[in-house]
């Protein structure tokens, strides 16, 4: 531990404050008692699908197309998830199937 205990605690507090500012700000700006502006309600409706798209990309950001295995395990697993989900529409089955396929791919095939 290069930092002293107090310094470490202050650093943790600073990190927490940054995280919580990002989480609490919308709720403080638009309190329950007031109706939020229309544009905010609109964003509240369209942001979830858009952010889900961002999160998918975010999870795959470190996958390299150039270097082996060229993102092939990710691609196969995601295609499998899409197919499973079209077929059975069961959230846990799609996630479980995709994850198991991915584990098998990276542990045994694209080692």
């Amino acid at each position: 531990m290069p930092l002293s205990i107090t310094q470490t605690l202050i650093t943790i507090a600073a990190i927490t404050l940054g995280a919580m500012a990002s989480r609490f700000t919308p709720f403080l700006l638009f309190p329950e008692s007031k109706k939020p502006p229309k544009v905010i309600s609109y964003l509240g409706q369209v942001l979830p699908p858009a952010m889900m798209g961002l999160l998918v990309v975010y999870c795959l950001k470190n996958v390299s197309i150039r270097n082996s295995p060229h993102g092939i395990p990710e691609l196969i697993a995601i295609v499998l998830i899409v197919v499973l989900h079209q077929w059975k529409s069961n959230v846990l089955l799609s996630i479980g199937g995709g994850t198991i396929a991915y584990i098998l791919l990276v542990q045994f095939i694209f080692v």
């Binding site: 531990m1 995280a19 989480r23 638009f30 509240g44 999160l55 975010y58 791919l105």
Partner: protein, 233 residues
Amino acid sequence: MELTKNKNRLHALGAAFPLTIPVLTGFIVLGMTYGVLMQTKGYGVLWAVLMSAVAFCGSMQFVAITLLTAAFDPLAAFFLSLMVNARHLFYGLSMLEKYKGLGKLRVFLIYTLCDETFSIASSALVPEGVDRKYFYFFISLLDYFYWVFGTFLGSVLGGVLSFNTKGLDFALTALFVVLFLEQMKKEENRLAGMAGLICAAAALAVFGAENLVIPAMILIVVTLLSGRKLLCR
């Protein structure tokens, strides 16, 4: 009276738990990774669990390891955390309506609103007959618990575990892919979903893996606002 209350809560827990199973897998693995990493940097179980329980901000906690091992600079730590966590701003905007009227529990729900909890809570419909307040509460509590417990396990077990966990954290990617597909089932969500995917991919291509989130958020908001007429029905 007390009995029906408990029954209601149990019912809500039963409805929430299956939705969080992918997070259970992902957070135990990632939390353990975090615990082990903290251990190797000289931070024992108390520090690791403290960080996970108080800061509770997944990816930022990994970034924070470098802060703990560098010169003392709390202001830089604050701003870095604000930037890495900026995406939460959009989660809050999305949950204003759903987290309305939930009393004191609301503070806990906001405190623990991470990527995974947001994805589940914003996509899931509260099942009929289930108390909305406790449904959201248990999604948040379970996800929070998995992360803190995973950190604890990693710190305590450390390198003892020889079981190969490679690829297990893909459960979280799979969760986001499936919840994206769920969102896309509704026709009115399709354009916004595609906009998110394309804006994020563009931001990744231009700004690279380390700096994609904030440019992607700006692109997404600009796109959604300029396409308001098209998207709003």
